[in-house]
């Protein structure tokens, strides 16, 4: 069923009795050409682009929980292309272009809203760094505008500009940055992939990867063994555990990142805003809640909940930046598990096991990468060659010293 305005109208007149489930729920077959482990945003987009771009007919996505139950439903939904380093810059630029055509490609409303992203800065040195970053973004073909304090005031009059400790010196505006409805991204990709014949199998936990003669042959699951010519591990947060099933040790440490949402409020924050002097970012959802977050909790964790010190830190940053938020009540908080890599950049590569591919290490920037991540992994699996915008996301770059350390904080997993 194709979705359209007319369809909504017709269904409305017919009592909405004609809607059908958005994707099929097949039983797993005994064998597939390609199996994607992980039914999150990245796994679903990989499956979709395998089918759409490369015409692969036999693809399965195996999801241990329900579709969208992992990090695709636990993030702060920010979409941007404001990276600096060659290797990252072209990849996120490609991803943003895919976002801009995503709704028509999927025939699904993912509520992609290019409301503009403003990164604030609070010193002369930071202004220089952001000017340089803005130039890099423009050189990449994306957009960036350096705002002085009056320029920021036009957009965000409610900030505490004269804060004694962290006065606002200006901001870097990325007009094409914004947000999207995260669950809808999973649902949209699932529906589009299902329409192209991809089997999406929920409640199917992978318990082992059968490797024979250095080659991946099959995955064992809670629903039995499934043979595959090629297998992709796309399970950020749990990458180390799944890769260990094939005898691999990854350069990944899992960390918990908290996020928060307030009760629904009338529209007051039109953009995505980040604070330059503490890790803090905020936007307002279409439902009215202020959605915000900060740093990871800094210690290795698989608990999908954080501790109080980071929650306090985030609230302090919020109050420093925008005292008006003190009147809002926090509705809930949650934690997601992040694959933290030693340089803060992801991995999209083959592994030493033939036929086994890896997509992991998204740190806490995976959501905006969903379209390009799947696009590039599908390209690698189908053609055997790395896509040109993802060619530096190699698994061996840590051993060879070709790191992509965007923040320049060094080889420590929790500092990115």
């Amino acid at each position: 069923m194709r979705y359209s305005g007319l369809r909504v109208l017709v269904e409305g007149l017919r009592g909405n009795r004609g809607w059908r489930p958005a994707w099929h729920r097949p039983e797993p077959k005994d064998a597939y050409d390609m199996v994607v482990i992980g039914g999150g945003g990245h796994g679903l987009s990989t499956a979709y682009y395998l089918a759409r771009n490369h015409g692969v007919k036999s693809v399965a996505v195996l999801e241990k929980g329900w579709l969208g139950s992992g990090n695709i439903g636990r993030n702060t939904t920010i979409v941007r292309a404001n990276y600096f380093l060659p290797g990252n810059s072209e990849f996120y630029s490609h991803s943003l272009k895919l976002w801009e055509g995503l709704e028509s490609a999927l025939n699904y409303n993912v509520m992609h809203s290019q409301r503009g992203l403003i990164n604030l800065f609070h010193s002369d040195g930071q202004r220089d760094a952001f000017a340089r970053r803005g130039n890099a973004m423009i050189n990449q073909g994306d957009d960036a505008i350096l705002l002085d304090p009056d320029g920021v005031r036009e957009h965000l009059p409610w900030l505490d500009f004269e804060n004694v400790r962290f006065p606002i010196y200006g901001g870097l505006l990325h007009p094409r940055g914004g947000t999207a409805r995260h669950d809808a991204v999973a649902w949209g990709y699932a529906r589009a992939a299902s329409r192209l014949g991809v089997d999406i199998i929920e409640n199917c936990e992978v318990t082992g990867i059968r490797v024979e003669g250095g080659k991946a042959k099959a995955v064992t699951t809670s629903l039995g063994e499934i043979a595959a010519k090629k297998v992709a591990i796309v399970v950020a947060g749990r990458s180390s555990e799944v890769a260990a099933m094939a005898g691999l040790t990854l350069p990944i440490e899992s960390h918990v990142l908290q996020a928060f949402v307030t009760e629904g409020l009338k529209p007051c924050i039109d953009h995505v805003v980040s604070f330059g002097m503490g890790h803090f970012y905020i936007s307002q959802s279409d439902k009215g809640g202020l959605v915000f977050g900060g740093d990871i909790d800094f210690y290795a964790s698989y608990a999908a909940r954080g501790n109080l010190p980071m929650a306090e830190h985030v609230m302090e940053a919020a109050m420093t930046l925008m005292p008006m938020i003190g009147r809002a009540r926090v509705l809930r908080s949650w934690g997601g598990i992040m694959d933290m890599s030693p340089d803060g950049s992801p991995i999209i590569d083959r592994t030493p096991v033939e036929g086994l591919y890896l997509n992991c290490g998204w740190n806490y920037g995976g959501f905006k990468a969903v379209p390009a991540s799947g696009w590039c992994l599908a390209h690698l699996m189908a053609t055997g060659e790395s896509h040109e915008v993802a060619r530096r996301f190699r698994l061996d770059r840590f051993a060879t010293g070709h790191l992509l350390d965007e923040e320049g904080t060094g080889s420590q997993h929790n500092l990115h």
Partner: protein, 88 residues
């Protein structure tokens, strides 16, 4: 989360800084091959369950090896890193 500092007793998480997996104590020899340094700096077992990691107590300045569970955040023990390293 509270960590039982051997010098100060049980103290709040806020007083400690996480310094990565305790594998950092197994430093390769200076002439070790690059793979050994890759293993030290980058590769992690990253278990969902019992793990050992290094923490620095900002108050008393001690380096600790903390054994804890990454799934429940339960802390089992904290020992001075020097003792752990000496014990091999």
């Amino acid at each position: 989360m509270r960590i039982p500092c051997p010098l100060c007793g049980p103290r709040d998480l806020r007083e400690f800084t996480y310094r990565g997996a305790a594998e950092a104590l197994e430093r390769p020899a200076a002439d070790a091959p690059p793979e050994a340094w890759d293993r030290l700096l980058h590769l992690r077992d990253n278990p969902a369950g019992r793990t050992r990691d290094l923490w620095y107590h900002d108050c008393c300045g001690s380096w600790l090896v903390v054994e804890r569970c990454t799934v429940t955040h339960r802390v089992f023990s904290a020992r001075p890193a020097g003792e752990v390293a000496d014990a091999g």
